[in-house]
């Protein structure tokens, strides 16, 4: 009966270890999905920032050249170029989260990626290792329980054999 109970418990623990493996795989898929999506979106934003910076810097450079325009017509042309560049900068500024613009106008890409990872970690498990470790522990436990069943069979036979031997010795 004891062996039967141990077998049942070992089976349940083995099944639970499979569930833990499943949860760990799920977390691994979550992590890769999060990593892929974050990179797709963050680098898209970075591309928009790159365009913004290009147009913004171009507009500023043109503005510096405006003072040395040779004639009124030339000044109007330069002004048109400057306005176009700055308008295109504004148009691209809507395409990335401005909160990641640093004070020196650089883009905090790693901060954005870090924040996106933390946001995802709030909603789903991104750490598969803990689950895999739990699965390994339970599998080891199940194996040890199955080993103990051997003793459940071996020990009584050894005891009976010794008991008979001792009794026969006494009788003789």
């Amino acid at each position: 009966m004891l062996a039967a109970l141990i077998t049942w418990r070992a089976s349940v623990i083995e099944d639970a270890s499979g569930d833990a493996d499943y949860d760990g795989l799920r977390a691994a898929v979550n992590a890769e999905e999060t990593r892929a999506l974050n990179n797709v979106n963050a680098y898209e934003n970075y591309g928009a920032y790159t365009a913004f910076k290009r147009y913004s810097d171009l507009g500023d450079l043109i503005a510096e050249d405006q003072v040395s325009a040779a004639s009124e017509d030339a000044a109007m042309l330069v002004e048109a170029e400057r306005a176009n560049a700055h308008d295109l900068a504004i148009a691209n500024q809507f395409l990335f989260p401005n909160k990641f613009l640093n004070r020196d106008n650089s883009y905090a890409l790693q901060r954005q990626l870090g924040e996106m990872w933390s946001d995802a970690a709030r909603e789903k498990d991104l750490m598969p290792e803990a689950k895999f470790a739990e699965a390994d522990f339970m599998r080891s436990k199940s194996t040890k329980m199955m080993l103990s069943i051997i003793w459940c069979w071996v020990f009584p036979w050894c005891f009976i054999h010794w008991w008979n031997h001792w009794r026969n010795k006494r009788i003789s």
Binding site: V12, L25, N84, R111
Partner: protein, 563 residues
């Protein structure tokens, strides 16, 4: 000799052994049947397990490819159209019709780059923004929603069959013990002992069989078979487009097909709340919770709706339940504080808000120590907490709002506490964001109430005058912020934040060390005057001025809608 020979009337040892043999045969047959059921349950468990993995991987792939696709369609294809349209407008405004025509020709060519630039998502002739929400829904949102719901449904089926398979093993184990006892009973010579073994074995067999029958008759419901998931996914696609009434119709269909579909109640609650039907939202949130939704978010949303209805005790209770499972969820803690404040329990509210601010500081410190970033929800939670306190104060000042002023207990004490908390939360938010440390100390500088004005320039481009006001017509491309100051020091951190319709627009942040001396008058500019095409967007603007991460002054103006 004695026990073997002693027979009760009609039950000789031979008859006993024959009876036991029959019982062993019957139990063996039952064991074989249960072994078959266990094998079948295990196979169904494996199939559902495989389905979950498949749905999970497919959803992953669809989401990544959908995001990449939409990123291109909007950020590249539409952006190309938009920039060329902008350049065409600029050229036409400058009187260069030839250049405008060239840009328009290029612009019209770009529509072939993406289906986003075609009806029903975009009318190139009318211009404006494409219906990106509809495009996303059609491209991948509905599909991945369906995959994720299928995953959840398959997981539930897997768990149910897994439980059945494991329980059948218990039955087989019990029947194995029963067979052992039956077998042993035929080898024992003592009459009484024989019957005890046989009796115990019989009892175990009966228990195992009844248990197995009860288990077998329990159905395993599979949501995938009801059609509810398809309706739900389509409803989510409509909700993504903020088409709330149409979404509710589809949620109704999903619930009709699967009355225990908690997510459908949740979706319908969101849609009802977005339409302002708070009572219906509350009913559906309660239904979702009754059907097994134990997430902190759902409890928190229900608590929020209770607060809007003025049911502060219920709001407090639900927020506390939510915090048990998600103690670091700042917005729930601040909502708890808000409900306590509105119910007149000012001391409890102050303590709750204190806990929230300490939690925010700890989360920022922990993130920095781990080399990571705090989640965006932390910053949103702080902003939202301040915003809701502001709404509460506006309601007590006479504005329309939910809950109404009449529902708020001890309005004077509540107003005073709300004003104090508002400033503390604002200081904490800015301090944590810019220094990583909680807010400390006070400021000694004094800033007069902010005034807003449109500058008037002379022919030399110098400011001639300011037209002050609270509201400005659409088309304004520059608003000046005017104030007097004293007690300032050069080098202090000076930060301006601009909120439009309650949400900060970080592109307007003005951050610079103070350089204007100790006392005087100053002007800061919100300006798009360098642009040929852009003006300030219509909306309610609120400008906040911070000195060394402390809120020093706050004011607002309105840009009226076009026309």
């Amino acid at each position: 000799m004695d026990t073997q020979e002693s027979t009760s009337k009609g039950f000789s040892p031979e008859k006993f052994n024959r009876t036991i043999a029959v019982l062993i045969a019957v139990v063996t047959l039952i064991t074989a049947i249960i072994a078959y059921l266990q094998s079948d349950a295990a196979a169904r468990d494996d199939r559902a397990n495989r389905d979950t993995k498949r749905y999970s991987i497919e959803a992953f792939g669809r989401k990544v490819s959908g995001d990449a696709r939409v990123n291109y369609d909007y950020n590249t294809a539409y952006q190309n159209w938009y920039e060329l349209d902008l350049l065409a407008d600029s050229a036409r405004n400058r009187g260069d019709d030839e250049a405008a025509a060239r840009y328009e020709a290029l612009r019209d060519n770009t529509v072939q780059l993406s289906p986003l630039l075609h009806p029903p998502y975009f009318d190139a002739a009318a211009g404006g923004e494409p219906d990106i929400a509809r495009y996303e829904a059609d491209t991948y949102i509905v599909e991945i929603t369906e995959l994720r719901e299928n995953f959840t449904a398959a997981s539930a089926v897997k768990d149910a069959w897994d439980n059945k398979a494991n329980t059948y093993i218990v039955h087989i184990t019990l029947l194995a013990v029963c067979l052992f006892l039956f077998g042993l009973s035929t080898t024992i010579s003592g009459q009484q002992t024989r019957w005890i073994f046989a009796g115990v074995g019989s009892v175990i067999a009966v228990i195992a069989v009844i248990w197995a029958v009860v288990l077998y008759t329990q159905p395993v419901k599979d949501l995938r078979d009801t059609g509810a998931i398809r309706s739900y996914a389509q409803a989510e696609g409509l909700a993504h487009q903020e088409k709330w009434e149409e979404a509710i119709e589809l949620y109704d269909q999903a619930i009709a097909a699967a009355p225990d579909y908690a997510n459908a109640y949740l979706g319908r609650a969101d849609a009802a709340g977005s339409l302002g039907n708070i009572e219906a939202a509350v009913t559906d949130f309660e239904a979702a919770i009754a059907r097994g939704d134990k997430s902190a978010n759902t409890a928190g949303y229900l608590a929020w709706n209770y607060y809007l209805l003025g049911r502060f005790d219920d709001a407090i209770r639900l927020n506390q339940i939510a915090l048990q499972s998600a103690p670091d969820e700042l917005w729930i803690r601040y909502d708890l504080g808000l409900a306590q404040l509105a119910s007149g329990n000012v001391d409890a509210a102050l303590a709750t808000y204190d806990l929230g601010m300490q939690s925010a500081a700890k989360q920022v410190a922990d993130a920095k120590a781990a080399g990571s970033e705090p989640p965006s929800y932390l910053w949103w939670g702080l902003d939202d907490a301040a915003l809701q306190l502001d709404y509460l104060m506006q309601t007590l000042d006479g504005a329309d709002g939910a809950p109404s002023a009449e529902q708020i207990a001890q309005p004077d004490a509540v107003y005073e506490a709300a004003a104090e908390l508002f400033t503390r939360i604002k200081n904490q938010s800015v301090s944590l964001e810019h220094t990583g440390e909680p807010s400390t100390g006070e400021i000694s500088a004094v800033i007069t109430p902010l005034k807003f004005a449109e500058p008037v320039y002379d022919d030399q481009g110098e400011v001639q005058a300011y037209n002050e006001g609270d509201a400005f017509d659409f088309g304004a491309n520059e608003i000046s912020i005017l104030f007097d100051y004293e007690g300032m020091q050069d080098g202090q951190n000076d930060l301006f934040k601009v909120y439009i319709d309650g949400e900060e627009d970080p592109s307007w942040r003005l951050i610079a060390p103070w350089e204007l001396g100790k006392t005087g008058s100053a002007e800061k500019s919100l300006s798009l005057s360098y642009s040929d095409n852009f003006v300030l967007s219509p909306g309610d603007y609120v400008v906040e001025m911070y000195i060394d991460e402390h809120l020093a002054q706050r004011g607002g103006f309105v840009i009226n809608p076009e026309g």
